[in-house]
């Protein structure tokens, strides 16, 4: 029963972490509080669904199409819609408010397009839904795959951001965009790259979760909020933080569901989140700003 809950919690947490990594890049590095984040995730899920049911392309192969497309789309969004806001913002707070408002608008636009294309109905398909027998527990292969992706992608990104000059440059942009220019970093390109990378990541998450979650065009906000909670719990801009916060949330949910009451899982999530914020306002692994 313990291993069962543990493994279920880890897979759920892995999914949360996967969902949050893109946002931590977009918010932590590109400084865009992207409220339309979940919509892009749902778009990824729809794309995978469409490719699978209509074109017969397996979701894992679909990643090769969807992720670059989402990367390109996000790049475009950043350059066309967000650059003017970045340029006119006198400081970080003003940019935060402006981007919250602008991406809130974007949320409706994307959702509206999805509604026109797919309607409001639920979508679901089955792929890789085979049981994997682990010692002490049985899990769905597709969920395990999502966990694996979260760990691998998280580790790769972490290494990339800390061990390479380019990655360090991206973190420098997060710390101080003005000073970053003074070491010859083209901040516009670096921020756009981080934002687009975040977009690619979230679409990847969308494709993966579409294999086991039932979704419709209205579900984006749910994912945005979950991702936000993970990002803030883990510390903004901190990939490992997102991974660990995701796992903590996942474990909390399954433990509460198993031993206390499934009715309190979401309440427990929020309670943990709120307590974390109160004890460590900068998140588990964040650095206090201001």
């Amino acid at each position: 029963m313990l291993t069962d809950a543990l493994i279920a919690g880890l897979t759920l947490g892995g999914m949360y972490a996967l969902l949050a990594m893109g946002l931590t890049l977009q918010y932590g590095v590109a400084r865009i509080m992207n409220l339309s984040y979940g919509e892009l995730l749902v778009s990824g899920a729809f794309a995978a669904h469409w490719l699978f049911t209509v074109a017969g392309i397996a979701p894992l192969a679909a990643l090769l199409l969807v992720v670059p497309a989402a990367f390109a789309l996000s790049w475009l969004i950043y350059r066309v819609l967000l650059t003017p806001l970045v340029r006119r913002a006198p400081n970080r707070e003003a940019l935060e408010v402006d981007t919250i408002l602008a991406t809130f608008g974007l949320l409706f636009v994307v959702q509206g397009v999805l509604l026109v294309m797919f309607g409001g109905a639920y979508y679901s398909y089955s792929f890789f839904a085979v049981p994997v027998h682990l010692p002490g527990a049985t899990v769905a292969a597709n969920r395990l795959l999502a966990l694996g992706f979260a760990v691998v992608v998280g580790a790769l990104l972490y290494l990339g951001l800390t061990r390479t000059r380019l990655g360090t440059a991206i973190r420098a942009v997060a710390v101080d965009p003005v000073a970053a220019q003074l070491v010859a970093i083209d901040v516009r390109v670096a921020a756009a790259f981080a934002f687009a990378l975040g977009g690619g990541l979230v679409a990847c998450g969308g494709v993966l979760v579409s294999m086991f979650l039932t979704f419709n065009a209205n579900l984006g906000v749910v994912f945005t909020m979950k991702a936000l909670i993970v990002v803030i719990m883990g510390g903004v801009g901190n990939l490992l933080g997102a991974l660990i916060a995701g796992l903590i949330l996942g474990l909390t949910e399954t433990f509460v569901a198993t031993w206390i009451d499934p009715g309190l899982t979401l309440a427990a999530t929020y309670a943990i989140f709120l307590v974390t914020l109160l004890v460590r306002p900068q998140g588990l692994f964040g650095i206090g700003r201001r």
Binding site: D4, A121, N216, G250, G263
Partner: protein
Amino acid sequence: MASITRRMAVALLGGGLVAAGSAAAQDMKSVKIGYAISKTGPNAGGANVTQIPNYQLWVKEVNDKGGLMLSSLKRRVPIEIVEYDDRSNSEEAVRAFERLVTQDKVDLLFPPWGTGLNLAVGPVFNKYGYPQLAFTAVTDRAPDLGKRWPNSFWLLGTSAQYVDALVGLLTKMRADGKINDKIAMVSIADGFGIDLSKAAREGFTKAGFKLAYDKSYPIGTQDMSPLIGEAARSGADSFVAFSYPPDTIALTDQAKIASFAPKVMFLGVGVGFPLYPGRFGANTEGIMSLGGWSRDNKATAEYREKHKAMHKRDPDYWGSQVGYSSLQMLEQAIERVGKIDRPAIIKELQTGTFDTVLGKIKLRDNMLQEGYWLIGQWQDGFYTGVAPARPGAAPVIVPKPAWK
């Protein structure tokens, strides 16, 4: 002359109104029907499967015939539709229906989706005297509501009806020695799940069943493995879930992954949705839920074909046919009255007998009392009605076959 009685005055006034109304009716170009429904928001998933397709199908069919036959005009009058999105929000819904009645001056209204919104707009329907044929609301207050708002009709009935039918089935299986007396029950923490689980708790206990596991889970729960794990460990032969579509699918998925194959597997909304067999194929065999269809009912089969032709997908197996039937009832009531006289239409709906895809229907206490399936089961790729016991009821398959 000072002794004109109040009754006379009312009659005079009324006459004047009727005269004015019929003058307008003479050049009536269309029958305006309005509705606000959740095209967006959390309700959209349900509204898009069970409700909107039926509205579109019925309107198209009637207009293809030339419209509603209004004998007072001696001609058919086509239907014109005004539709809004209530965004799954009660206040939006109330205002949208107010707008439909007072601004768009529609002749009739279609109901919104779900228990909450149907109740929210109930006072508006009632205040302006429009018939409200709610077919996606399950509430224990249905009998009271029918009395409080005589213009309202609650076609899906009460949770007690469904639970009674389910308890009946399970009791018989136990008597036949096919299942033990333990039941594992989970329910969504929403009006639907709570009403049904409350009734079920009482019903099961009274019938001598033991609830080995009994929990609710919040809307938006993304992982069902703890629930399924606990249910499997509870030793119950019967698993009952009063769930919403995403959870219904997740529960099925997880049960399959965990190789949890209870002898009775009863799930909530979504089992009858077209995407369910699309997703699980042969694995649906033996799964039970609310609603159900008659395999040998020609009208039903015909409706199914029409729906499929228009929307490129099947209707759902629970609310859809009830919904379509309610529209047929409305059509027949209007044509019998012969004009858009709402009090008369309401009266006809209360008392008349109607010919629908469900068969002959007569409402009692503003509710659909019989003639439709409460419990159904996937049998050989068809979601067939198994309870209540009436002609056409298929024998229940127990135990549910193992997962493939």
